[in-house]
Amino acid sequence: MEPTDRALQWSADTVTRPDAPHRTRRPTPMWVRSARYWMYQYKRTWRGSITTSFLFPVLYLTAIGLGVGSLIHHPVDGVRFLDFLAPGLLASTAMQIGGNDAMYPVMAAIKWLKTYFAMLATPLSVIDVLIGHLAWIALRLFVVCSIYLLIMAAFGTVHSPLALVAVPVGVLTGMAFAAPIAAFAATQVNDMGFSTIYRFVLIPLFLFSGIFFPLNQLPGWFQAVALALPLYHGVALCRGLVLGHVGVSAVVHLAYLVVLSALGLVVAARTYRRRLVT
């Protein structure tokens, strides 16, 4: 192929030529192009993370669900401990992935590798860069949550076809952390703040969002605090869906997560612009 042909082929992707409007493809949205970067990068490193996405659920469900579960001789919230635990772990895995992928990769793209700046040197806008990165995180969450659900099914902890909805809910839970944390990461000069997020946000939420024990065991004020925190809503939704009892409260949980994700996105658009456009 001649170089000029190739150039034409590339330009056909984006430019609609007035003389041949029917032969051109619809242009790929810009944010998809920035998402593709992350996908392309992941192609080289996916093996390790796929292994762990299969292995860690198996290990957690075996050690805590079956191991500790064998010491609990009564139902927890009306179900086996393993059934109680598994959907909570799905939600918390989504939180961890969403949070983690919005911390170091964002810092790297701004400070260490400067990928964002390379992207902005192309026709991509700051919003394309942000949406593209978040879309990639959502896709990754989708894969990890689907694998988690498969493993839960293998452990016999899926009790309703509604469980399939737990995958998009897991994605939403992850995004409720990814968007605000990306907004935060874009304001940071170094990665010191991330260990604070881990120690004072992600780990306490993992431990106190009703994953390992029902929240009604906690003192009243503690319960009130836990109910106000985001992971609880992801856990409650996933648990309802997987066990097959979804009530009106599901709307509240869903709304909480959607609002938090949207709010994170709006704030991230501002912090990204402030950081990346000089």
């Binding site: 993370s49 050690a63 191991g67 064998s70 010491l71 260990s195 106190f208 024990f213």
Partner: protein, 274 residues
Amino acid sequence: MSATPGPSAGATLRITPVGLLGTRRAGRLVERNIRVYRRLWMYFVSGFFEPFFYLLSIGVGLGKLVHTVHVAGAVVPYATFVAPGLLASSAMNGSTLDSTFNIYFKLKIAKTYDAVLSTPMAPADIALGELTWSLMRATTYSLAFLVVMAGFGYVRSPWAVLCLPAAMSISFAFSAVGMAGTTYMRSWQDFDKVSLVLIPLFLFSGTFAPLSVYAGWIQAVVRCTPLYQGVALLRGLDLGILSWTLVGHAIYLLVAGFVGLVVATRRMTTLLLP
């Protein structure tokens, strides 16, 4: 004795694990780390909270579901059972993360050690200095955790005083082996393997449930792993259930630590003085 290392001292340093040869110069590296950490005090202080959160959630919260556990014929509340396990695993996690990520960063990214070697320091001093510093931090955390444990009433025996040196032996083993492992890491991608080792150890070493709940072959495998030694040692001391096997656990951890230190020193020498 250690002020000016001659060329012949190199060989001695390489095979002397913790000998007094390098201690004074290793102290300089500790001093350097303390000076750096003065600016990162928040990072240091926040480390106290994590095991405490675990104790509240798993010990107190999950403890309300589990009630009691049988250990060597004794019936103990779950929180009392799990507390020494959490102390052991936090000693493992803290010192491993410290000796892998931080050391890799200084070795490969920041090139701190190349700068250190332009002074009279030798690779053995670096290995020993980093190990000492990591151990100092870990001991502070372990002490704080023990005080909290005692405050919650999870300490059952005066032998629990020995939990501090026992937790130090866990930190020593994981710091040294972690440091040795780090010298083989090629990129950040290799750090996936760190969690691939830590998470199974954290979950299956008798931390959350007694070994008896697992199948026979899992028990046999777990008995050979390092964190199990730490958990069994701390639990035995904390509950006052003493036997000679505790000495065996301690020896396992110390030997692992010394082997790790020797390997780390040799590898550091290869990497830094090619």
